[in-house]
Symmetry: C2
Subunit: 696 residues, 2 copies
């Protein structure tokens, strides 16, 4: 290539002046910047000499997003790329508090300033970008009004960029690989990043933490970030199997592109930005959406005690289900998940979703009998639909399948889309199969379709192998939880299983998007070392084990938020350890408030949550492979009240690798003045329940 | 996700049995395997239980490509993905030797066995894969016959995979980034690779070297490799700005997918596989395609002594061009390149190819005068067309532009496509601009169009910012060289400049695809430390310098093949060092034979080449940042002949960093029995000319 001196000089000048450029923009002209209510965050908007729209973000006077491109290009008409001027803008602000039907906190404050910038070109092209600046970050989205020639567009390239300080550290998982989101997080400098999923978290050299993600992903392809130049991450929309890009008709808006900003890691965890950028509840009365805890016929398959199909020892039998129902009823669980109840599991279901019926049961599973038995015990079945990523087979049966469950009192269905990345299948009207990414526009729409169809039957959906969460639970509160990261199951057969740091990274990355059905609570930490059952599939490698202490399994109920939490292990393993099991019996799944108290990405987290409609608090703390002693002030407790703290701590000699079961379980009186010592073992954790002593 | 025991067992079994699987396939059924003429390479073909076509490759009994998928999917019809059986096959072989009009060697032997496998599905879908097994690797391509419903297809996914041993080391550059191919090569394990360009080179744990690339890329998108699972690299076709994939009409064939295999690094360099998989010369008499050496008004711009436009000191003036013509004539150069002769360089040409005229000269450049002056001196002007990647502006002017050069005796034109990756521009009939990757289908076709249009005027094309080379020089011998990697120019302004290892990696990676206009021969190794000329643009950072010894600059004329080689430095810098300059005067650019003698990727290379139509040989050796002493047998020389060896070696105390000019220049008598000591300094090299002493 060739490189002119003039261009080089301009580039250097631009690089040198970036921080002042954005800050200067703020003051230069009205209508080109917006600040957060506390004034710390500033978004500035401008166009380059070529009329390329760009924005930048500063936080506390420090540039956090250097001037970055905005725009999009289309397959068949002029792009929104250059030749634009800012022809108008409007400002506004909002400060309202809304109530979640369930969530990490009951009341969420949406306090932001808004700026809508109108970009137009001489030839009539126009679009708007709506920015919202909150104290905890910013969001912006494109709003494309009706205009001549743009009634139907195919967006081949969204030009949105995020320019991040090159010396930052990042926590990320790759995008466009064989898996969807179930990778171990990488902790690297930017130079090792190519194309990554969001949320992606950055720690800048100054210590400021950023997370880039999106909110309200509807009828659009998910945005990954492609590092195009060092430090410049460009939006990379999931491809379509049938179109050159994202297909939109009429005026449209994109999902919100979000940048959460906090001075420290815990600050990210306390952000409500993603929820605030979603539309309010569209379902009306959602009292039928019920947070709670469940057990199920699930882990037994992962450790090969049972099988989904009838090839080894079938798990989903009437008798076995009743056994779980009895256990659930005795221990206060709300639901019993049953996987492998429907026909289709005996063939090669892994690559062939066509095999599944969602209404036909295996002969040894009497749906009516177990459903009625459950209801008689005050428990509900939790439904299960594995699609193998074949959405056509699922959609064809969907009404009947949800009707069937509704008829049997089922209020929650766990769905599954096990297919490799790029291999989610649909069949068009001519019988031709197409294969999509799980986060492509077609699949985005399918997942929402399943949620809205389920809502008609008062059924909530727990999506596995999902599209990533973008906060749509606010709009559709029956989208109650989902997977979308490496969960507990990897500890049964993963090579490697989840290392201790995994659950010290998730809260700062995946969990910023929303709840996760991680399925904590494994009590037999080395199941693959047990003797194999006669007739069962062989045990997995003993290298696959749970790399936590038992105390950390309890802590996960607090550190990893989900409104429905599984107690994932076998009933007999809980019965064998009643003392620690008491914490699982006690811990709720719905919260009045949540406060991340301290933490560092990949190292540790301490979080406290107040039970919804109660004075009780729960604390969870997790560490990575390092032991650490945390002196935690309990200032979140109500002043002047004495609480009993029932604690489940790692014993002095506990260690995930050598002595994982050693626990110090007890109780003591504490107040908001108390500084509680939390001794975290390597791979360890701490779980504490607090309740006012006058409740005793 | 969930994971059935059955699937896991099948997966493990498949993994364990892979080598025997491919080898077993070989013997199982006729028509499903093909071996190289020497029997060392075996390609086996099969379908899985689901009817998924796959192939594998073994070399000397070792699996080099584990069973890997074949197939493709379309936007609007059933894919060639599963449900296929092998319904027929045909075998053949060829052994012919063809002559290159110019090249690394005059005669190329094409000796291969061939297997065409016919895949068909019950519903009538059918396609063929043609495999060719050579001693130095294999190639295969899809051949899609005419069939109902497939008259026009959009290929949204080519399913071709290459499964490589996970413990391999790779040398690669990223794909889909801002640059095209001008990256420093990475030397890593597979875990750091995401999406990479080809050729990509692997060294397996056994020491076997592989290079995956493609041949004869015509009317198709270039293939990058995306590591989809660990060790599984999937074809990733460059996207289109207007279609969902590669658009093909009627029956079609794809480019050849190639895997060069050699027991050592030097073996890769000696491979002719890519050329052998291209179609023969379509241009007939190409005696007007003239290998040779050139100088030009070029480096002066890169070091900011001159400028392309008139903003600083304009380089392309009539007087300056005549000065270069005089120098060329005096020193035996064939051409003088002049960049910046045409209008358009004074604006923001970097992002705006519309500014360029390809027929209008700057007022201070008299094309007729300099062209005639050159011809009177036995020299030809070398033309230059920088397009900034705007192919519409170029194509509109192309006929006039080539006519103009033809009228002035120009036989070679250097073209340029400086635009970021994904930003090569074309404008459709409705005036809408589209932006493509340089290696997308649209651009692939444009580059060939420029070559065939030029051929009509007996003009050869030297493409900068090109599509990667895939051997099309065999078919279009006027596509004489190209850039397509980080060249010498980065030593003027690169941050960082090319490190010493760069030229010890290129021969094993980029150069496997074909010639490169690297432009060696910089004699002033620290130009940015010179005083700035009055009126010139400021010097670049002194951190940008040439990280070689002077001897290595000479060696590059032998180690980096190009049929047109530039002596890139300013005439005065050569005049200041006449002794080493003598080698550049002597070294030819066209060869009778080339033999890579020894080397290791990223460490060093020793190569010998015999001058076309002469008994003279030339040897080049380069090392990375490590000094090394090579004892090189001269067995390539004709037995019984005594040669004079004129050597240009690093002096004992030479070092690229501290003492780059120190050379040991001299001559001695040698024979094919001689073992010549080549002392390579850190960042050093060696250049030797051998000629029979009876010629003296």
């Amino acid at each position: 290539m060739i490189f002119s001196a003039r261009v080089l000089l301009a580039t250097i000048a631009a690089l040198l002046c970036l921080p002042s450029a954005v800050l200067a923009m703020q003051g230069d002209e009205a209508g080109r910047s917006v600040s957060s209510p506390d004034g710390r965050l500033v978004v500035a908007v401008d166009v380059t000499g070529e009329g390329v729209p760009q924005y930048g973000v500063a936080y506390g006077g420090e540039m956090v997003i250097a001037p970055s491109r905005l725009g999009m290009r289309f397959a068949a008409m002029k792009g929104f790329d250059e030749g634009f001027a800012i022809v108008g803008s409007s400002a506004g602000s909002a400060d309202e508090t809304w109530e979640q039907p369930w969530g990490e906190r009951r009341f969420v404050r949406d306090h932001h300033n808004e700026l809508v910038v109108n970009f137009a070109a001489d030839d009539g092209r126009s679009f708007n970008v709506r920015f919202r600046a909150f104290d905890d970050g910013i969001g912006f989205r494109y709003e494309v009004p009706a205009q001549q020639g743009y009634d139907a567009v195919t967006i081949v390239d969204e030009l949105t960029e995020f320019r991040v300080a090159e010396a930052s550290t990042a926590w990320w998982i790759p995008s466009r690989g064989w898996n969807r989101y179930e990778y171990l997080y990488e902790t690297t400098g930017l130079e090792e990043m190519d194309i990554v999923h969001t949320p992606v978290t950055f720690r800048m050299p100054s210590g400021i933490h950023l997370s880039v993600h999106e909110a309200a992903l509807v009828d659009y392809a998910a945005m990954s970030l492609k590092q195009y130049r060092p430090g410049i991450f460009a939006a990379d929309l999931a491809p379509s199997a049938t179109a050159a890009g994202v297909v939109k008709k009429g005026p449209f808006t994109t999902p919100w592109r979000t940048i959460q900003v906090a001075p420290d890691a815990a600050g990210l965890v306390n952000s409500d930005l993603i929820l605030n950028l979603n539309e309010p509840n569209r379902l009306g009365d959602v009292s039928w959406v019920e947070p709670g805890k469940y057990v199920g016929i699930w882990w037994a398959m992962h450790i090969n005690d049972r099988s989904w199909g009838t090839d080894f020892i079938h798990g989903a039998t009437t008798d076995e289900t009743k056994r779980y129902i009895d256990f659930a009823a005795e221990n206060g669980f709300d639901g019993v998940l049953v996987e492998g109840w429907n026909t289709g599991w005996d063939g090669d279901w892994f690559n062939n979703g066509d095999v599944f019926s969602f209404t036909e049961t295996y002969p040894d599973f009497d749906l009516r009998e177990v459903a009625d038995y459950a209801l008689s015990k005050g428990v509900r079945l939790v439904g299960h639909h594995e699609t193998s990523g074949n959405i056509t087979n699922y959609e064809r049966q969907m009404a009947d399948a949800y009707d069937l469950y509704e008829d049997h009192g089922v209020r929650q269905v766990k769905t599954g889309y096990v297919a490799d990345g790029g291999d989610a299948k649909w069949v068009d009207d001519t019988g031709v199969a197409h294969y999509e990414w799980h986060d492509g526009q077609k699949m985005v729409n399918h997942y929402i379709h399943s949620v809205t169809e389920a809502a008609k039957r008062k059924i909530s959906i727990n999506t596995h192998e999902p599209i990533k969460d973008t906060g749509l639970r606010r709009t559709y509160p029956n989208w109650i939880t989902r997977e979308g990261a490496r969960g507990q199951e990897y500890n049964a057969w993963g090579q490697p299983p989840n290392p201790p740091e995994h659950t010290a990274i998730l809260p700062y990355t995946r969990m910023l998007s929303g709840p996760m059905d991680f399925t904590p609570g494994i009590f037999d930490l080395m199941p693959n070392e047990r003797p194999q059952l006669e007739g069962a599939a062989p045990r997995h490698s003993t290298a696959s084990r749970v790399e936590t202490t038992l105390a950390k399994q309890l802590a996960l109920y607090v550190t990893i938020y989900s409104p429905i939490q599984m107690a994932a292990d076998l009933p007999e393993n809980y019965e064998a350890r009643p003392e620690p099991f008491q914490f699982i019996r006690d811990v709720p799944a719905d919260w009045e408030e949540s406060i991340a108290l301290a933490g560092a990405v990949g190292d540790y987290l301490v979080i406290a949550r107040q039970e919804r409609g109660s004075d009780d608090w729960f604390l969870g703390a997790v560490t990575d492979e390092e032991a650490r002693n945390i002196s935690q002030p309990l200032s979140f407790l109500t002043d002047g009240v004495t609480y009993r703290a029932e604690y489940y701590l790692d014993a002095d000699d506990a260690d995930w690798e050598t002595n994982p079961y050693a626990m110090d379980i007890g109780s003591r009186a504490v107040t908001s003045e108390t500084v509680m010592e939390l001794p975290l073992a390597p791979g360890g954790g701490a779980a504490v329940r607090f309740y006012p002593m006058n409740d005793e």
